[in-house]
């Protein structure tokens, strides 16, 4: 299983969303085999005021997906927020995002395994 995060403009998502599903004759949607689950997070709020109301709503539409295999047509829309600052994850699958992140950024501080005592010295 692969956990990927994406951002789209509204127009991009309107175009791409139908390609992720197949439809039967009654219009019932089923995800294409490459995709296990889609969660449309929507426009993420990046800042709140004192009353808790959103003051900075992202203009990008966020979508998380669990993939059975990579989907090439989505690669241009992948985003990689820091692993300790993600807006959403799939229950019990937190580590899957870290795995995807570390494939993308293997040299990140989140991904480098200390190899010696010196690496850990303060």
């Amino acid at each position: 299983m692969i956990f990927k995060k994406y951002e789209f403009t509204d127009e991009q998502w309107e175009t791409i969303r139908p390609t992720l599903y197949s439809k039967d004759e009654e219009g019932n949607e089923t995800l294409i085999p490459a995709i296990n689950a889609v969660v449309e997070i929507g426009n993420i709020c990046k800042a709140f005021d004192e009353e808790g109301e959103c003051t900075n709503l992202s203009t990008m539409y966020s979508v998380d997906m669990l993939l059975n295999e990579d989907v090439e047509s989505l690669e241009d829309y992948e985003v990689y927020p820091d692993p300790d600052n993600v807006a959403h994850y799939f229950s019990g699958d937190q580590s899957l995002y870290l795995k995807a992140y570390c494939i993308k950024y293997p040299e990140s501080e989140y991904c480098v395994i200390p190899e010696s005592d010196e690496d850990l010295a303060e």
Binding site: M1, D24, E26, N28, T30, N36, A37, V39, I41, G42, C45, F48, E50, E51, G52, E53, C54, D64, L66, V86, A87, H88, Y89, F90, S91, G92, D93, Q94, S95, L96, L98, K99, Y110, C111, V112, I113, P114, D117, L120, A121
Partner: protein, 535 residues
């Protein structure tokens, strides 16, 4: 009565990753017939002790010689020893400072991207510095421990930090001595584990739920994403429905009956939202839910000291579910359409007497007009994926020209869901299906895509129901709760049944609660059908 050729449930539940145990009986012997199950995330249920837990199974033991029966399998540094059935840990200093301080360790117990349950017992026999247990450089425990053995047990997620996988014991102060014993590490497998819920039900029921996301990013911490206005939330105040002491005391501290906790920043995306919160009475006699969908504001008060199972009529039609030990899950739904804002507010004491209640586990989920099982969150919104369950390649277990299908099921909040289905190749083209649609049983028979029967019967569903469907060409009967409710005298049936599908392809992602399911190759007699379906 003939023996069922496949059974599921009936109080006999066993699950593992990707499977739930179906079975059949021949003579005095039982044979397994596993149903396949998937849900590519973890999910919670109410276990047989009545507590909410993440459904899981444990792997085999990953630690070798965790009882220290022999002087082997562990790396000993700084003078540490193994003798007398204990591991004696001689501290070499902070284990975080380097592997030379890993006084007693075992290599590569842990792997990346997994969860583990760690158990051991430990005591301090010399010195007063902190005892440390870790995976490599990352602590499980870094604290002063007693001179008497104490049992430790916790779950660790290996994926949140990077490490090479050693289980390590040590101590911060060089020369301190500790003893450890009964060391155990097992992988905790949570994904694709079927969930049998025992909520108010000692025999258990298999729950199948749709994909849902808890939008509250701190479901039981950080004020549950609320802003507090002259109210307080005191964490870890009482045992919660998950059995831990993590229930929150929610009290009025001000002097106005408007004192509340509020979240005015919920998402305004169109859709139907369900809100749920576990509440246990303390001394408040008037608790309030306030909900605004941007177009209308609704409030409903109730007395926590008088909570009972059921729906309390009012502006929000609050639903109360009894979780035991005084805890009730209280839920309601709202629909948003082009909302300018979306607000949720709770008041501990509208009587303005500085009283309160206990609360736990706030959940706001979109996508349906009922709350689903609790999805814990901590810092992010979290999605539980849909449950999927069926059994294929069992043509020899299904009557090909005639048979009886039986199910005992709960009437869930979902207005439509599969009751029972057999088909060919997990397809809708060749199937016999009975499903709920509001107050109707819809019965569908399709052969090669052509509809032989597609008819609805008005019935009275109870909270729990027993249904039996018999089938053969030109002869179909439906019994519900001890009565014959429908007969069909014409219609062909498909050939080649090989699948028992708990969720018809058109009814995926519906909430189901299945207590018992049986398939017979025979058509049971009318008296047998009556007896079988009588509650």
């Amino acid at each position: 009565m003939a023996e069922a050729t496949i059974q599921l449930g009936g109080g006999n539940w066993a699950g593992k990753s990707d499977n739930i145990l179906g079975y059949y009986k021949e003579g005095e012997r039982f044979y397994k017939q596993d149903f396949t199950f998937s849900r590519s995330t973890s999910g919670t249920r109410v276990n047989s002790s009545g507590l909410i837990e993440t459904a899981n199974v444990l792997s085999s033991e990953l630690v070798t010689n965790g009882g220290f029966d022999t002087d082997s399998d562990w790396n000993k540094l700084n003078g540490s020893t193994i003798s007398g059935g204990f591991g004696t840990v001689i501290a070499g200093g902070n284990v975080e400072a380097g592997s030379s301080n890993w006084s007693l360790n075992q290599n590569t117990v842990f792997s990346a991207n997994k969860k583990y349950k760690v158990n051991f017992r430990a005591r301090q026999t010399s010195g007063s510095g902190k005892f440390q247990a870790s995976r490599d450089y990352y602590f499980f425990i870094d604290e002063v421990i007693t001179s008497s053995f104490v049992d430790y047990s916790f779950i660790v997620d290996s994926g949140s930090l990077n490490f090479t996988g050693n289980l390590v014991f040590g101590g911060r102060t060089s020369g301190d001595e500790f003893e450890v014993d009964n060391v155990s590490v097992k992988e905790v497998i949570q994904n694709n584990i079927p969930r049998v819920s025992y909520l108010n039900n000692s025999n258990g029921s298999l729950i199948l739920e749709p994909q849902r996301t808890n939008l509250i990013t701190n479901s039981n911490s950080n004020s549950l994403n609320f802003t507090l206005d002259n109210v307080s939330m005191t964490y870890n105040s009482i045992m919660s429905p998950d059995g831990e002491t993590n229930g929150i005391l929610f009290e009025q501290t001000g002097s106005a009956n408007s004192n509340s906790a509020y979240n005015y920043g919920l998402t305004t995306t169109d859709g139907t939202y369900s809100y749920s919160l576990f509440i246990k009475a303390k001394d408040s006699t008037q608790f309030r839910f306030y909900s605004s969908n941007g177009a209308s504001t609704l409030v409903q008060d109730f007395n926590p000291l008088e909570m009972t199972e059921g729906i309390l009529s009012g502006n929000l039609n609050l639903k109360f579910e009894d979780y035991g030990n005084g805890w009730f899950r209280v839920s309601f739904t709202r629909t948003l359409s082009s909302a300018a804002f979306h607000r949720l507010q709770i008041y501990p004491d509208r009587n303005n007497t500085q009283k309160g209640v206990y609360i736990f586990g706030l959940q706001v989920e979109s996508g349906g007009n009922y709350a689903t099982s609790y999805i814990p969150t901590s810092g992010s919104s979290v999605t539980r994926n849909a449950d999927v369950c069926s059994i294929t390649d069992v043509a020899d277990r299904i009557g090909q020209t005639k048979g009886t299908l039986y199910s005992k099921f709960d009437l869930t909040e979902d207005s439509a869901f599969t009751i029972i289905e057999i088909n060919l190749g997990n397809s809708t083209n060749n199937r016999i299906l009975a499903y709920r649609n509001a107050s109707y049983i819809v019965f569908v028979v399709q052969v090669g895509g052509a509809i032989e029967i597609n008819n609805s019967t008005l019935v009275t569903f109870l909270d729990t129901n027993k249904i039996a469907v018999t089938y053969q060409t030109d002869d179909f009967k439906i019994y519900l709760n001890g009565s014959l409710v429908k007969t069909y005298t014409s219609g062909s049936i498909p050939s080649g049944f090989d699948t028992i599908d708990l969720q018809d392809n058109y009814l995926q992602g519906r909430k189901q609660s299945i207590k018992d399911l049986k398939v017979y190759k025979e058509i049971l007699t009318n008296s047998e059908l009556t007896a079988l379906t009588t509650l």
